[in-house]
Symmetry: C2
Subunit: 325 residues, 2 copies
Amino acid sequence: MKKVSVGVDIGGTNTAIGVVDELGHVLTKDSISTPSHGDINVYIDDLAAAINKLITNAKFMNEDIEIVGIGVGAPNGNYYSGTIEFAPNLSFKGVVPVVRLLRGHFPNIEALALTNDANAAAIGEMIYGGAKDMKNFVMYTLGTGVGSGVVVNGDLVYGHDGFAGECGHTTLVPNGRNCGCGAKGHLEAYCSAPGMKRTAFELLAKYNAVDSPLAKHSFNELTSKMIYDAAVAGDEVALEVFKITGHYLGQGIADTVHHLSPEAIFLFGGPLAAGDLILNPTKESIEEHLLPIFKNKIKLLPSQLSEGDAAIVGASALAWKELEK
Amino acid sequence: MKKVSVGVDIGGTNTAIGVVDELGHVLTKDSISTPSHGDINVYIDDLAAAINKLITNAKFMNEDIEIVGIGVGAPNGNYYSGTIEFAPNLSFKGVVPVVRLLRGHFPNIEALALTNDANAAAIGEMIYGGAKDMKNFVMYTLGTGVGSGVVVNGDLVYGHDGFAGECGHTTLVPNGRNCGCGAKGHLEAYCSAPGMKRTAFELLAKYNAVDSPLAKHSFNELTSKMIYDAAVAGDEVALEVFKITGHYLGQGIADTVHHLSPEAIFLFGGPLAAGDLILNPTKESIEEHLLPIFKNKIKLLPSQLSEGDAAIVGASALAWKELEK
């Protein structure tokens, strides 16, 4: 029998589901809508039905598979309690007991666990990706927000209450930019996709850069993809956005290194498509901020998870990790 | 038989040694000079002789004791390799194999290990102090420098190369004050004893505060004890030094909380004598910088290790921790 696990990624709009083998290959996948308004019990019924349908499909295509677990990634997912807690971008309010409700539908499955999406990505990197032989590393996920997952001695760090690994909320600049969380100067306000856009607008203002292609777009229109395209085309403003973003990111990563002395930092997300444009200034900034005992030791690596399936694959990895225990 | 362990604290000037029981009581202690120039083998011979003499004394006073281990705390101490590596304030240069050399003198002792002084303090808090029932906490030690020890799931975090827990080198202010390590804006440059003095001098300059008692001392003369005395006597400048120090410390601690989600942060060192003068602004600043999911959850506690013996007691705790393995 070929063992496979199911990965579920609960997002604000859609919930993606995939059946994943031990090498991290997605055998089959599907998605359902995460309701904008709706009863959590109805949603879990729908999710369980979709999972069962997908398992049936996977078994039809691969007769010799055995489902060993379900891993769920979700914003504000708490591993200890199996709950989603006060997730600002989900319609489910308060504390939602996802694992308990799913267990009702899958009483016999061996592993069933939930964590937040960035933690799931870190576990995915450890089980399937570039961190297979590493015991100490940290994953930063750069997107609409900045998430992270911390691995120490081969285990994900959840901390006292299950919410460890919020490195995106390191304070980089005292009294700096407003962060979505309500505080000021956090890394996420500089290194997320909206953070890069904010940097672009500061630079347009600073240089009065009427000739930059970025000057043609409103604040609401400008995307990080446009900044990327402009940088690749040689636009000075866009290139500086990447430099500054890397500089801020490196400052935050150096804080992480001082705390945890990891072997490597993995970066995941859209900006990594820019390769050295983001990696080089980040590396330089990490070194600038580090104690001598850490200098030139820490690997900065792009994630080896494929962007499209990473969320599903990461969530499925949580199930494998559970089986190790 | 009453089991006891030996704690050794290697400092720049003196090496303190103590025999400590399972409750953290120092039964007997002594110290030898850490040579300003000298052969490491001669020093280790002297240290081993002093340890043996102290054990003989302890056995004379308490006939029923059994020595189960030796724990060593030292700056830049590496737990994995048992070495002191490039410690700027010690006369031993390069990489010094302390555990290997000591093992030659104590071939039969069960536990023999070394770590840095702040890690030793964290283990001391866990074995004897306020963190006895905690699995996730972080210890900050405030002194000439700022050290820290990180505990996750009941174990000290050493990281990939043994140097984790350098939270004193979190960057608080981009391009801020010069830190002793060569970087800029690190926490240690603001929250150590010299950091408090630097803050005092900035405030004297800002307010032209000729009436402050702190205005009577040169930069080289002013001590953190003088700032403390002036604050207790109501001097506005000195009081503001504590406020600002707490504010900076809270910013750094919030970064730690976002990484690790600890149950508590322990503070150790001279400034804690000021009690609420330092604790209140620190607490306030932590909360200001935290994500909502962490707000009003994290305990900020003064260490329960007694200032005088903490280094010895912390080092001895390392031996107990080894025996658990």
